[in-house]
């Protein structure tokens, strides 16, 4: 903001006197790529200019003489150039070096910006440019491995799937653990459960955000930074700033076009059995159990069938050999086109962009397309007033397919057996009706139409007013509208009814209106050169309502968007959510001699989410930093070029709780005996409130050898009290569906380390960026509730006192008895037992990694650049929840070839037990035998991204008319993964039921489609 004000002032003062000469020149970076929008000022004067799209500038009306030019640009160190202006003027070529100190770069900190030097909290920044290098299902996935303390678990291979982003770990059980996302000052709608969990996928509210629109992302990590967001900041804050108008060239505005095309494949495919293997293993199980003759087959015969009937069924079944995995997957095609135009004039600047992308996943029928547009405007109305607007509109269409437990590839990995055909054969051997004697995922794949259409509009208007020197006001109003239309059509074929009856169609519409405004006033008080104060006070209000309408029609021929139904069989308002926050906040900054900095943040939040006994949350934080390298004793040190110490302590909150949770609520939908009904759904909780985190952080930033090596280390400690336990936690005999209460305590501590080195400089350049974060996490208290009462859902993770959030709570598997071939478990005392008993469950693993991070190496030579990103996870566990059915008791599921290593005769030392059809042989009364046999080490290192780019050199560019820059790149993602995990993909974000599930059960896979591997070609042209 300050920079923009400065620009405004500079342009205003551009003098109008007439001189004959001018200084012309060109500014470029180390790669000889023109720098656009750099400020060039004659030192000691107010004369200056901006560089255009070619990187050229002209300062007119300059008297002859010697001058010193100061050139500054975001992301670069300021450059200086002596220039002598003769009668013909002067032409200079200026090369700016990549920013090394970056101390004067501005960082968005919430309700304003600060210079990096001044920052007292822990804030990380990443440019939008580095997000666009990689095709990802949603922008947040591109943050992976790039920032210390920011752990991203990329979503599954489903198109548009969302990642799980955790800033410095997780310290919530039942309240949402996601960071707060703020786009241009609006805390946006970010509810993953607005549309439930249909078809094995949660709706990703971030999928409609166009990564090409993003200028920067700033991440607020500690209380010193996040407390400004008060009761909503404790999980960290991700501030997204969209692009604004930049100065174009003489020929016209900046125009950029980029196109990316690529392919999608799964990173791994399941190794399911084919028919002969399946029949062989099933037969073996049958004979192991004492069966004679042919084994009975699901869909063909039953255990009670006669030997003759079983034999006939066996022969019939062996004629089929369907590869369901092959039938449900494909090579997906991806394309993305982006066009933007921007310019800056004296009074107005603009950025306009339009994007279209269509990303097919490798699942047949699954794709996500998005058409989005953006217009960001700035009007400099007067010296004192600036008005800015941001407008974006996006339409995303997710063509959904069943996945995981709901069908599709999930069926291919479970109950779609190779002995099932897709269709029956008619007398001539041709295809006839669908096979329905067992799971046939192809019916839904071909007969179900499912589209989730999302319309997203994020708009705001802001007024900056600078009435007198050092006093700034900003008022901003924002509106974020999200409309989700989940349309499903089940054809008569799917419903297995006559075509003449027609199919049925469903529509669930979710309409979210999210409004906010804030007003801030900032006064900079600088009594002398040594002491500087900045006072900011502000007020913010935000209100969001999500209403849901469910409609159903029958006897129709298409989804609602294709065919307006003649009549509705159901049309009702369903539960939605509504919440509001009213906040007052203040931030006071003090700096002494530009090397000692201190900051105080205070924020008070009133929220509709808080029970009547706890209406206001008060969050204070203090932080300070000391730039030691500015001290005399270090100033001229040859090794240490920069050294800063930071510390912060404060309170921050998490209010990611259901807005309805505090109320005694009633519903009135439905009839009984054709009479109206009214019914209560839950009890009130007047004590419901935010989770309080007390967070402290100590950090060190060190630059060595002229910042060739730059490292940041932070230690953080977060203690959470009043941790929320949500949904289903209370005894089911209460008869209530939901109850949410503050009962827990959690500790989350960690160490994060980041280092950037410029290993080689010169013509051939090589830089390395490495970060790693280690987290210690433990639950200290869950009130009077038992582990199981608090839950963890179907994923067998439980909150265990003294263990991390997301502890795998399982019966321990010991070994396969070599004599009997049966599994041996351990009881609570560690003694072997043949009985599987849930009373013997223990905290056996943790879904949270011990450490995670990323390593990026960037090489460049002339116009070429190569960037290689490896992300890694050390420690933690994956629970392969579906393996107990694929590799356990032989049931109606298909199995995996892993079973070739099974016990077959006494003395065999095998990985898997003697096959059986009867769970009792495994000491169990259920086939859902969860044990540590399927708990695996989650460590992996993954070659996440390789981008090889070429920038057309200036000489070549000159030959092209109107073209300013050309860049081409080939991009590959998820090329190689090194892991001991025997399943599909070691990075797992499955579908979740609710926030508790999302917090406690990443790294649990249940038929979850693996991530995609992509190969793309990208071209960027600047005009």
């Amino acid at each position: 903001m300050k920079r923009k004000l400065l620009l405004t002032i500079v342009s205003f003062y551009l003098v109008t006197q007439v001189f004959a000469q001018s200084i012309k020149g060109r500014v470029e970076d180390e790669k000889k790529i023109p720098i656009v929008g750099a400020t060039v000022i004659i030192e000691g004067t107010k004369k200056g200019s901006f560089t255009d799209a070619q990187g050229t500038f002209e300062i007119k009306e300059v008297k002859a003489g010697k001058y010193k030019l100061k050139i500054s640009s975001l992301g670069s160190n300021p450059g200086y150039k002596e220039v002598e202006v003769g009668t013909n003027g002067a032409f200079v070529n200026i090369q700016l070096k990549e920013d090394q100190k970056k101390l004067d770069e501005v960082v968005v900190v919430g309700y304003g910006v600060q210079r990096k030097r001044e920052i007292t909290g822990s804030v990380a920044q990443i440019s939008g440019k580095s997000l666009n290098d990689m095709p990802v299902p949603s922008f947040e996935s591109a943050l992976q491995g790039k920032l210390a303390g920011v752990n991203v678990t990329t979503g599954s291979g489903l198109a548009g799937s969302g990642a799980v982003v955790r800033i410095r770990g997780i310290a919530s059980i039942g309240a949402g653990g996601d960071p707060l996302y703020v786009v241009d000052g609006i805390p946006i709608t970010q509810d993953y459960f607005l549309n439930g969990n249909g078809g094995g996928m949660n709706n990703n509210p971030l999928a409609t955000i166009n990564p090409n629109d993003i200028e920067t992302i700033d991440v607020l990590k500690d209380a010193g930074a996040s407390a400004i967001y008060g009761s909503r900041g404790a999980n960290g804050v991700i501030l997204i700033t969209t692009k604004r108008g930049k100065k174009g060239s003489k020929k016209g505005p900046n125009v950029n076009f980029s196109a990316t095309v690529g392919t999608s494949q799964p990173t791994a495919l399941p190794n399911m059995l084919n028919t002969s293997q399946y029949l062989q293993l099933r037969q073996e199980a049958w004979e192991n159990d004492g069966g004679t003759g042919r084994v009975w087959l699901p869909g063909y015969s039953s255990a009670q069938s006669s030997a003759a009937a079983r034999e006939a069924a066996y022969n019939k079944a062996s004629q089929n050999n369907t590869d369901w995995v092959k039938l449900t997957t494909r090579l997906g095609f991806k394309q993305n086109y982006d066009l933007s135009i921007s310019d800056m004039y004296k009074k107005i600047s603009y950025y306009a962009g339009i994007s279209y992308s269509n990303n097919e996943s490798y699942l047949v029928g699954n794709s996500y397309n998005r058409l989005s547009g953006r217009l960001n405007l700035d009007f400099r109305i007067s010296k004192k007033i600036k008005v800015s607007t941001n407008s974006s509109i996006a339409q995303g269409n997710n063509f959904r397919v069943n996945s995981a437990w709901a069908g599709g590839l999930g069926s291919a990995m479970s109950t779609a057996l190779p002995i099932y055909p897709v269709r029956y054969k008619d007398v001539n051997g041709g295809d006839s009706a669908y096979f329905r004697g067992g799971d046939n995922p192809l019916i839904a794949q071909e007969q179900k139409v499912w589209r989730v259409g999302e319309t997203r509009v994020i708009n705001n208007v802001a007024i900056d007013y600078n009435p007198i020197k050092n006093l700034y006001f900003r008022g901003q109003g924002g509106y974020d509208y999200m409309q989700l239309l989940d349309d499903q059509y089940n054809s008569p074929q799917l419903l297995n009814i006559a075509d003449s009856i027609g199919g049925n169609a469903y529509r669930t519409g979710t309409f979210t209106n999210n409004l906010n405004y804030f007003i801030t006033g900032t006064y900079n008080y600088n009594p002398n050169d040594n002491n500087k104060f900045s006072f900011m006070v502000g007020n913010e209000f935000q209100k969001s309502t999500a209403s849901v309408r469910t409609q159903r029609t029958e006897k129709t021929s298409g989804p609602f968007y294709d065919k307006t139904p003649d009549s509705l069989y159901q049309n009702q308002v369903s539960p939605g959510s509504a919440w509001a926050f009213l906040s007052y906040f203040s931030r006071v900054n003090y700096s002494f001699k530009d090397k000692y900095f201190a900051q105080l943040i205070l924020r008070a939040d009133w929220s509709s989410r808080f029970g009547e006994n706890y209406r206001v949350a008060f969050m204070p934080a203090v932080s300070a930093s000391w730039v030691l390298s500015e001290e005399k004793f270090l100033r001229n040190n040859k090794s240490i070029s920069f050294l800063k110490l930071r510390a912060s302590a404060g309170r921050s909150g998490n209010s990611n709780i259901n807005g309805n949770a505090r109320f005694l609520t009633y519903r009135t939908d439905g009839l009984y005996n054709q009479q109206a009904i009214t019914y209560p759904t839950q009890a009130a909780n007047p004590n419901l409130r935010w989770e309080t985190s007390f967070i402290w952080d100590a950090g060190l930033e060190l630059g060595l050898f002229n910042d060739r090596i730059f490292t940041t280390v932070d230690y953080f400690d977060r203690r959470v009290s009043d941790a929320i336990i949500e949904n289903l936690a209370i005894s089911p005999s209460t008869g209530m569906d939901n109850y949410t209460a503050n009962v827990g305590r959690i500790t989350n501590r960690g160490l994060e380390f980041g280092i950037k080195t410029r290993n080689l400089v010169g013509k051939f350049r090589w830089s390395t960026d490495f970060n790693i974060t280690k987290i210690w996490n433990s639950i200290d208290d869950i009130g009077a509730y038992s582990q199981d009462a608090v839950g963890g859902g179907t994923n067998d993770t439980r909150p265990i006192i003294g263990s991390p959030i997301g502890t795998n709570y399982l019966v321990r598997f010991s070994h396969i008895d070599q004599q009997t071939g049966l599994p041996v478990y351990l009881d609570l005392n560690g003694n072997p037992t043949s009985k599987w008993d849930i009373a013997n469950r223990v905290g056996a693993g943790s879904v949270l990694p011990d450490a995670s991070g990323g390593l990026t190496n960037t090489f460049s030579y002339k116009g070429f650049d190569l960037s290689v990103l490896i992300n890694f996870v050390i420690g933690g566990n994956i629970y392969e929840s579906s393996a107990k059915r694929q590799l356990g008791v032989v049931t109606d599921w298909n199995m995996r070839t892993d079973l070739f290593d099974r016990w077959q005769k006494p003395g065999d030392n095998a990985q898997f037990a003697r096959l059986t059809l009867n769970e009792a042989n495994y000491g169990s009364n259920t086939v859902w035998i969860n044990t540590t046999q399927f708990l695996h080490d989650a460590s992996f290192a993954r070659l996440r991204n390789i981008t090889l780019g070429y920038n057309l050199q200036p000489k070549a560019i000159k030959k092209l008319k109107h073209v300013r820059s050309v860049r081409m790149a080939v991009i590959a993602t998820n090329i190689l993964t090194v892991t001991k995990y025997p399943g599909l993909d070691p990075e797992i974000a499955r579908d979740f039921e609710n926030a508790t599930d999302r917090n406690m059960s990443p790294n649990i896979t249940y038929l979850t489609p693996p991530q995609e591997r992509t190969y793309s070609f990208q071209i960027n042209v600047g005009f």
Partner: protein, 473 residues
């Protein structure tokens, strides 16, 4: 500096005057709050109506099927997943089907208890209306607790085999609305409380519920009596059951149907003392029955009658109820059996019916060895209807008690095929000390813990006695 103070105070003023904490008082979306939802006695009536609604959604065949999965009337065909755990008598605490049923039934208790707080509050209700509502609430609460007790506790009886851990062998009794965990009561306390609710309901409820016209949709005095009889009967309190039944069956206004299918609503309505009502295909409160058992619109039904049950019925070919069984693929290796009782798009599910009352009294009299002619007379009413040649079957009244008892149980088994009755009878008479442990139903002795479901794991708070897992197949 003065200047600074001024600026800061002006700044603060501008910003702080602009809003108000009342803005955060917003209503939940898609829900009503208490002051909107419960404004009058009419609203209380709607809540009571919702308790019937919620119960109808559990007893739509689902709860009955769960009982039958434990018994021996279903074939081992197409029973997978959660249902398989029921069938193999190994319902673990994470069985979502049984857990949904548990929560669903307690939901009725929650709603009923919610109403109790409101009834006296509204003056637009007459004293009679208030007492009717209170009676209905207690009836619903008793019915719900009873259904839970049947699935989650061993029956009450004199057999020492079911009385281990007596202090927590019953169920959690939810008497008021509270979020606090409630431990299990003893089985005696459980049945005493259920009976107490019903006795109170009998005194509160009218002879005829004003909203019942042709159907017995809402509980009245007789419904409460009938349920009380059933509760006493199931808990082996036969004398008490007889006393209630004597009152109910003397000069009864109910009449035995000529039909043999309890779900033949038109013919059977004279027998119904209480029923769950369906009003159309979109409002089918028998959906689990129709979805699982229908034999008229599928090649084979989802759930099939066991050969054992079919062979039992077939033993007496003069039993007209045999005609309700459909033999599919007759004579082929893939011969299977189904029922034709449920072959309609929608129908009412009877919960209390006259046939049951007669069969209960007959058996109870025989067990207590008293008034055997009445027992025989009760039984003959059913026999007369069920057999091609009833005169060959009817009892003279001179038989000894054991003969009448055996006949009563035989008729009960034939009448209530696939209606969730069989396993409860087995458990009841076991608890009465009549079955010795080696005698089993599909290899389970009556006191096998596998015949009661595990409580949902989230119910098991500190001090709560979970049912031990024990499979018996």
């Amino acid at each position: 500096m003065k200047h600074t103070y001024k600026i800061i105070s002006v700044l603060s003023l501008i910003i702080f005057f602009s809003s108000c904490t009342k803005w955060t008082e917003i209503k939940p979306e898609g829900f009503l709050l208490e002051d909107e939802a419960v404004k009058s006695g009419q609203d209380v009536k709607r809540i009571v109506n919702s308790t019937y609604d919620a119960l109808a959604n559990r007893l739509n065949g689902n709860a009955q099927i769960y009982n039958d999965l434990l018994g021996d009337e279903l074939a081992d065909y197409n029973i997978t997943g959660d249902r398989r755990e029921m069938y193999t008598r190994g319902v673990i605490p994470f069985n979502s089907t049984s857990n949904d049923n548990f929560r669903g039934i307690y939901r009725c208790v929650f709603r009923a208890n919610t109403c109790l707080d409101y009834i006296q509050k509204f003056n637009d209700l007459t004293a009679t209306e208030k007492s009717t509502l209170e009676g209905e609430i207690k009836f619903i609460r008793a019915l719900s607790h009873f259904e839970i007790a049947k699935l989650y506790a061993h029956p009450m009886g004199t057999s020492p085999l079911v009385n281990a851990n007596a202090s927590q062998s019953g169920i959690p009794l939810r008497k008021t609305v509270t979020i606090d965990p409630v431990l299990r009561s003893s089985i005696a306390e459980t049945y005493a409380y259920i009976a107490e609710d019903l006795i109170s309901a009998i005194s509160l409820l009218p002879e005829n519920h004003p909203s019942n016209t042709t159907k017995k949709v809402y509980a009245d005095k007789d419904a409460a009596k009938a349920l009380l009889a059933k509760v006493y009967f199931q808990s082996n309190q036969y004398q008490k059951a007889i006393d209630v039944l004597n009152g109910l069956l003397a000069n009864t206004k109910y009449k035995l149907s000529d039909s043999l299918n309890h779900f033949d609503n038109a013919s059977f309505s004279g027998e119904y003392l209480f029923q769950f009502v369906s009003t159309g295909t979109g409002d089918n409160r028998a959906s689990a029955y129709t979805g699982n058992y229908r034999t008229d619109n599928v090649a084979v039904p989802n759930l099939q009658l066991s050969a054992l049950a079919y062979n039992f019925m077939k033993q007496d070919t003069t039993d007209k109820r045999l005609g309700l069984i459909k033999v599919i693929n007759k004579g082929k290796p893939e011969e299977v059996y189904g029922s034709m009782k449920f072959n309609k798009d929608f129908f009412d599910v009877p919960y209390l019916l006259l046939t049951d009352m007669y069969l209960m009294r007959a058996e109870a009299l025989a067990i207590t060895n008293q008034n055997l002619p009445t027992a025989a007379e009760d039984l003959n009413k059913i026999i007369n209807r069920a057999y091609i040649n009833p005169t060959a079957k009817i009892l003279s009244g001179a038989e000894i008690a054991d003969v009448i008892k055996a006949r009563a149980r035989d008729e009960r088994r034939r009448e209530f095929l696939l209606e969730g009755d069989r396993i409860q009878t087995f458990k009841r008479i076991g608890a009465n000390g009549e079955i010795q442990v080696p005698n089993t139903m599909r290899n389970a002795s009556f006191n096998c813990n596998g015949l009661i479901f595990s409580y949902p794991q989230t119910e098991v708070t500190i001090g709560f006695a979970q049912n031990p897992l024990q499979t018996c197949n």
